[in-house]
C-alpha cells in the first residue's frame, strides 16, 4: 500500500451552511480511507465552541441563492430564524447536527484543531471548546501536521 493520502481542511466561517462542507468533506475523506485534519480558525472557531455549536445561524443577507431579498434578510432575528428552519429540515432528513458531525469525525479518526490566534482574539480558553478538539495549534503547527496533504479552504 502506498503512503496514506491526507487532506487538511481549514474551516474559517461558522454559518450553518458554511461549516457543513468542511465537516462533510472531512468525514468523506475518512470514509474513503484518507487521513483528515480540520483546522478551525477565525469565525470557524464558533463551530467547536461549546456554547455556540448548537446555535449556528444561516446568513441570508447578500446571498442571492437564499431567495430572500437582502433588505428583508437583514431584519433582526432573520438569520437565527433561518438557522432554526435549516436545523429542523436537517433533523427531518435525519442528517446529523453539527455536534453529532463533530462526534462522528472524532470517532472516525479525523483530527480537529483550534487556531491559537483566533482563541486569543475571541478570548477563548481550551475548556470552552468541545471535547472533540484535539489541540489548539498555530498556523505553523498546522503546516507541520499537514505535510504532504491536500489543503482545502472553506
Amino acid at each position: 500500500m502506498t503512503a496514506n493520502r491526507k487532506v487538511a481542511i481549514i474551516c474559517s466561517k461558522a454559518g450553518l451552511d458554511e461549516c457543513y462542507p468542511a465537516l462533510i468533506l472531512a468525514n468523506a475523506a475518512r470514509q474513503s480511507g484518507i487521513d483528515a485534519f480540520v483546522f478551525f480558525t477565525f469565525w470557524g472557531l464558533d463551530v467547536v465552541t461549546e456554547e455556540k455549536v448548537d446555535h449556528l445561524h444561516v446568513n441570508l443577507a447578500g446571498n442571492p441563492a437564499s431567495g430572500m431579498p437582502t433588505m428583508l434578510a437583514g431584519l433582526p432575528g432573520m438569520e437565527s430564524l433561518a438557522g432554526r428552519m435549516m436545523r429542523k429540515q436537517m433533523t427531518e432528513l435525519s442528517l446529523p447536527s453539527v455536534r453529532e458531525m463533530l462526534q462522528i469525525l472524532e470517532e472516525a479518526g479525523a483530527e480537529l484543531y483550534g487556531c491559537e490566534l483566533a482563541m486569543q482574539m475571541f478570548k477563548r480558553k481550551k475548556e470552552e471548546l468541545v471535547p472533540q478538539v484535539k489541540d489548539v495549534i498555530t498556523a505553523g503547527d498546522f503546516y507541520d501536521l499537514a505535510e504532504g496533504a491536500q489543503i482545502i479552504f472553506t
Binding site: I24, R30, Q31, L93, S94, L95, I104, G109
Partner: protein, 324 residues
C-alpha cells in the same frame, strides 16, 4: 303588540338576552378555545342582523324596551331549560349590567355605525401590509385602534382570570390524584417493580431498521470489470450481483482487504446484507451505525480503512453512495 316595530323589539330583546345568557354561560367554562369558537358566531349574529333593528329600537326610546321586558322574560323562560335558568339567575346582575351597557344610546350608535360598515363589506377593497400602515394615519382609525386595544386588553384580562381559575381547579385535581395515586398503584405494583431487562453490551443489538435516510441513493447496477473464479466484480472490487455472495467468498474477500473476520465483523456484515435486502441500497456508515447497532468508532476499529466501502465489498454489496 300589533305594532310590527314592537314585535321586532320583543324578538330582538329576547335574542339579546339569549346571547347575553350564552356569554354568561361561556364565562363559566374554563376552556379558552370553546369561548372563541362560540363567541365568533355570537358576535357575527350581533353585528350582522341585530344592529340595524337595534338602531330602530333606540329611536323608539328605551321606554318601549322596559314595557316589553315582562313578555321577554316569559319567552326566555320558555326557551331555556331549568339548569339554564338557574345559571341565568346566578348571573342576572352581570346580564342586566351587560344589557344596560350595550343598549346605551352612545354605544348603540357606534355599534350601528360599525354594523353598517359590515353591511357594505362587499364594496371594501382588499388591503395589504402597506395599506394598513397608511390607514393608521387616519385619526378615526387611531382612536378605533385604541378602543379595540382596550377591548382586547379586557378580554385578555378576563380570559387570563378564567385560565387561572381552571389552573387552580387542575391543581386541586392533581393534588387529589397524588393522594389517591398510591392506592391505585398498589394493584399493579408487582408489574411495576419488575426490572426492565438489561441490554447486553457485548453483542451488538440489531435495532429495528429506521426508514431509509433521504440521502441514500439507490444502488446502480454495476458494470462487470473482471470475472474471477466465475464471480463477476466491478472496477471498484464490489460484487456485480449481491446474490452471488457466499460466506466462503466473504472470508476470501476479507483476506484480500486484510480484515480478520470475527463474530463482531459477521454481525455487521449480516446487518448490512439484511438492510440491502430490505431497502435495495447499500448502507453507508451512518446507516450501518443505525441498523447494526455499532458505533462509528467501532466500525473504524473493525474495518480500519474506509469501513463503509470495505464492508460493502466483503458483504458482496454495491459501493455505498451518499456523503455520510
Amino acid at each position: 303588540m300589533s305594532d310590527p316595530t314592537k314585535t321586532d323589539l320583543a324578538a330582538i330583546a329576547a335574542r339579546l338576552d339569549a346571547l347575553t345568557a350564552q356569554v354568561a354561560r361561556l364565562a363559566e367554562r374554563g376552556r379558552q378555545d370553546d369561548l372563541y369558537d362560540e363567541l365568533v358566531p355570537v358576535m357575527r349574529a350581533m353585528m350582522g342582523s341585530a344592529m340595524g333593528r337595534l338602531d330602530a329600537m333606540e329611536r323608539d326610546g328605551t321606554l318601549a324596551f322596559v314595557r316589553e321586558l315582562g313578555g321577554v322574560g316569559q319567552k326566555v323562560l320558555a326557551s331555556f331549560s331549568a339548569a339554564d335558568v338557574r345559571q341565568l339567575g346566578d348571573a342576572v346582575v352581570t346580564i342586566l349590567e351587560t344589557v344596560r351597557t350595550l343598549t346605551q344610546p352612545d354605544v348603540m350608535r357606534v355599534a350601528a355605525d360599525a354594523g353598517e360598515a359590515i353591511q357594505h363589506a362587499d364594496t371594501a377593497k382588499p388591503m395589504g401590509l402597506f395599506g394598513m400602515m397608511r390607514a393608521t394615519k387616519d385619526d378615526d382609525v387611531q382612536r378605533g385602534m385604541a378602543v379595540m386595544m382596550e377591548v382586547l386588553r379586557r378580554v385578555g384580562h378576563g380570559v387570563n382570570a378564567m385560565a387561572a381559575k381552571q389552573q387552580h381547579a387542575d391543581d386541586k385535581k392533581a393534588k387529589l390524584a397524588e393522594i389517591l395515586g398510591p392506592k391505585r398503584q398498589r394493584k399493579v405494583l408487582g408489574t411495576e417493580r419488575a426490572a426492565p431487562p438489561k441490554a447486553l453490551p457485548a453483542a451488538p443489538v440489531v435495532k429495528a431498521a429506521p426508514p431509509a435516510p433521504a440521502c441514500a441513493v439507490p444502488a446502480k447496477p454495476g458494470q462487470v470489470a473482471a470475472v474471477i473464479d466465475g464471480v463477476a466484480f466491478t472496477a471498484d472490487g464490489n460484487l456485480v450481483d449481491a446474490a452471488a455472495w457466499t460466506r466462503g467468498l466473504a472470508a476470501a474477500l476479507a483476506d484480500a482487504e486484510r480484515v480478520g473476520l470475527t463474530d463482531a465483523h459477521w454481525a455487521v456484515l449480516d446487518a448490512a446484507r439484511a438492510d440491502f435486502a430490505a431497502t435495495g441500497s447499500s448502507p453507508n456508515i451512518r446507516r450501518l451505525t443505525q441498523v447494526a447497532g455499532v458505533s462509528t468508532k467501532d466500525l473504524y476499529v473493525l474495518f480500519p480503512r474506509a469501513p463503509g466501502r470495505t464492508i460493502a465489498k466483503i458483504a458482496g454489496l454495491p459501493k455505498p453512495a451518499g456523503c455520510l
